[in-house]
């Protein structure tokens, strides 16, 4: 018995020694270390890798100019495997073992929230990458989220879709809502439900489909078609978005406005898969190669990204997430330069109180660290004639129809006319 316990204790000691041996030694003090977890494997792996490449491009850009306040930037990151349970340990390692100077979030709400209390406890600035209302409960004043969903993200997400619908003549009257049974899609459709009430559209269909696990959308869309809605708002993930678009064409479902919260239609691979089937769909968008969206630095960044992305087998055009992944570290770097300080409180106050010029445009933060005003574009896919990649890198294909300020073309209404 005693021998067994001795062996167990010896085993613990050995494992501790191994873990210490694997711990990197103290790094050169002159580097500014920015630590984060990123989904490099798991369901969000492909997008996470693209975000990482964007951040590495920013690091190289900054270091080529001499670093931040004369110190070179080093990114310290670990793969969270798209598992929220890995995030607390990773951030504790970054702060207590790697001794990073700054932390930024991984990709997505589920992977941001587990790190938020850690940033709060340490009083650190925490930049978020595509979290949907992640700070709603914590209300941490040094959290800043780069996705332009707006101060009330759940409602603002679909506001543009409904404003567009409300302007059409004759005014549409009914709407069908369909959502994947998971976090983002349910939130997007919950916001759409509130907007439908606000704008006075009658909800004639409001259902969820199992996610993951639904591959044939034909029966679901037949049920939608039976209600003959004027508008069809969908909250879906990439696989479902493809299935829904194909099924809608198969059964000739032709509402007057179709789309809204379909994730995936912004990805080049899916655009190339669907090609002409995308014509007429109006969906949320964050950036497109339109003349109204030529923010300073975006083209230089995309040129670097598009050169490297094919080698790493990432989204070759990178219009969706990569510009924002570049921008959230760019914004942090700019704040460090502007305050001439590494003091977290000063940097937090600077980010909170100023408007920031980034590759994704001017950013001003408001309530809970979300954008002060929503800038979620509604884009209508128009004039797509083939499945080639070059089709989607040109202006005039992903036409910004909302908001007015960034409008690059007119909405083709009804949807059937734009097909």
């Amino acid at each position: 018995m005693g021998r067994i316990i001795r062996h167990v204790i010896l085993g613990f000691a050995l494992l501790l020694a191994v873990s210490i041996a694997f711990t990197p030694s103290a790094q050169a003090a002159k580097e500014v270390k920015i630590g984060f977890s990123m989904a490099l494997t798991g369901p969000l792996g492909p997008a996470g890798k693209a975000a990482l490449l964007a951040m590495q491009i920013w690091r190289d850009d900054v270091n080529a100019k001499g670093g931040l306040l004369g110190r070179k930037v080093k990114l310290v990151y670990y793969d969270d495997q798209t598992k929220p349970a890995n995030v607390p340990g990773i951030y504790a390692k970054l702060l207590d073992v790697d001794k990073v100077d700054f932390i930024v979030s991984g990709y997505g709400t589920n992977l941001i929230v587990p790190a938020l209390p850690i940033a709060m406890e340490r009083g650190m600035v925490f930049m978020g990458l595509f979290g949907l209302d992640a700070n709603a409960k914590f209300k941490y004043n040094n959290y800043f989220q780069i996705m332009p969903a707006g101060p009330d993200p759940i409602v603002d997400w679909s506001r543009g879709f409904f404003e567009l619908a409300a302007k059409q003549k004759p005014r549409p009257k009914t709407i069908a809502l369909l959502s994947a049974d998971a976090e983002f899609a349910r939130n997007a459709v919950a916001g759409a439900r509130r907007n439908a009430k606000k704008y006075g559209f009658k909800i004639v269909y409001d259902k969820r489909y199992p996610f993951p696990g639904t591959s044939d959308f034909t029966p679901i869309l037949r049920a939608v078609k039976a209600t003959n809605p004027d508008l069809f708002y969908v909250g879906s993930y990439p696989g479902g978005s493809v299935g829904i678009v194909k099924a809608a064409h198969e059964i000739k479902l032709e509402p007057k406005l179709f789309g809204g919260g379909m994730v995936g239609l912004q990805y080049t691979a899916i655009q190339m898969n669907l090609g002409k089937l995308l014509n007429g769909i109006t969906d949320y968008w964050f950036w497109a190669p339109e003349k109204t969206l030529k923010f300073p630095g975006i083209e230089a960044f995309l040129a670097k990204y598009q050169k490297e992305a094919p080698k790493q087998k990432l989204d070759p055009l990178g219009y969706y997430l990569p510009p924002f992944a570049y921008a959230y570290v760019q914004l942090l770097g700019n704040a460090i330069e502007a305050t001439k300080s590494f003091d977290q409180a000063k940097i937090g106050a600077y980010i909170r109180n100023n408007t920031h010029s980034t590759v994704v445009g001017n950013v001003k933060f408001g309530k809970n660290g979300e954008w002060a005003t929503s800038r979620t574009f509604q884009v209508q896919l128009q004039n797509i004639t083939s499945n080639k990649m070059s089709e989607f890198s040109k202006a005039g294909k992903m036409v910004v129809v909302y908001p007015e300020e960034f409008k690059s073309g007119e909405l083709i209404y009804p949807y059937a006319k734009g097909k």
Binding site: M1, G2, I4, I5, V8, G11, F12, L15, V18, S19, F22, L40, T41, Y78, D79, Q81, K83, P84, A85, N86, V87, P88, G89, I90, A92, K93, L95, D96, V97, T109, N110, V113, P114, L116, P117, E121, A134, A136, K137, F138, D181, A182, E183, F184, R186, N187, P210, F211
Partner: protein, 319 residues
């Protein structure tokens, strides 16, 4: 009480006190968080082994029992925020009762059919939780952990201490079962159920006891999960990792003794924690997969069995 039992319980008490003393000496939170995950797997592997190792009924539904503990805690936190010890009790109770109910319904099934039923249980529970909006549904919910806790300088240290205590108690429970007539009865069921029944072993009662205790321990391990991860949603709470690891760890350590799951969980859990922050995460899965295949092929009795064989061979050579 036998001398061996006294010594075991003293060691268990010393380990719990030791865990508390560590929190007064060490500040690095990474080690607490990493240790929490390893200790959580000690509990899950030990719990799995009570049914899978001692009794021979392979449970693929660990994630279901674990998540039920976690979501019981979430429901209670959302209702009236009780103290953590009550969450542990309630998490254990709900998962224990679930184990009892499932045991009653499925223990007439044997072998692979029982395993499929437990896997289905986890899927059904995940669907139920995904549609229960009070606990966040499919979208998940953020849980605010208490800002401070008496005797500990932060909540991470407290959670580490709690999970260390649960791990010690779980191993103690497994040890007590193994050394009692209950453990011998379970071993008889594992070796030959019909023969055991003929010899008067109360097989239904023992199997129900095993599913209940196993489920309860998994539920207790899940109860503090929402405070650890802060944001809980069904995909992560019902993650297949829990089922795979809680099965692989006893297989690697050895399924027939209390020591096997402990050794397997510490070894594989620590390797996974190191791999997460050193190697790529594909390596993480590769480690578990390779170890599992290697042990099943070359050392089916696990590390404990392997050491036993080596020791017996050395003893034979000396003789």
């Amino acid at each position: 009480m036998s001398k061996e039992r006294k010594l075991f319980l003293i060691v268990a008490a010393v380990l719990i006190v030791g865990a508390f003393l560590i929190t007064t000496q060490m500040e690095n939170r990474f080690y607490y968080k990493a240790a929490y995950v390893v200790l959580q797997y000690v509990v899950l592997a030990t719990a799995w082994n009570i049914l899978g190792g001692y009794t021979g009924y392979v449970n693929f539904g660990t994630a279901g029992f674990f998540a039920m503990g976690a979501y019981t805690a979430v429901a209670l936190i959302k209702t009236w925020k009780p103290p953590l010890y009550l969450l542990l009790v309630m998490g254990g109770l709900v998962s224990g009762l679930l184990g009892l109910g499932i045991g009653y319904l499925t223990l007439r099934l044997k072998g692979v059919f029982f395993s499929i039923a437990t896997l289905a249980l986890a899927v059904v529970l995940q669907m139920l939780i995904s549609n229960w909006s009070y606990v966040g549904g499919g979208a998940g919910t953020a849980i605010l952990k208490p800002r401070s806790v008496p005797l500990f300088s932060n909540y991470d240290e407290f959670l580490f201490f709690v999970m260390a205590s649960i791990a010690v108690i779980s191993v103690a429970v497994a040890w007590l079962i193994e050394k009692s007539w209950v453990g011998r009865g379970m071993a008889a069921i594992r070796d030959n159920e019909e023969a055991a029944e003929c010899m008067g072993v109360p097989i239904l009662k023992l199997k129900l006891f095993a599913t209940t205790v196993s489920g309860a321990l998994m539920g207790i391990a899940g109860a503090p999960f929402s405070y650890f991860v802060v944001y809980i949603e069904p995909t992560s709470a019902f993650h297949l990792d829990y089922a795979v690891n809680s099965l692989a760890m006893p297989m690697i350590g050895g399924t027939t003794t209390w020591l096997g799951p402990l050794v397997g969980a510490v070894l594989v859990g620590t390797a996974q924690q190191i791999a997460t922050v050193t190697l790529s995460s594909e390596m993480n899965l590769l480690i578990v997969g390779s170890l599992l295949v290697g042990f099943v092929v070359f050392a089916p009795d696990g590390l404990v069995g392997l050491f036993g064989k080596i020791r017996a061979r050395l003893a034979g050579r000396e003789a």
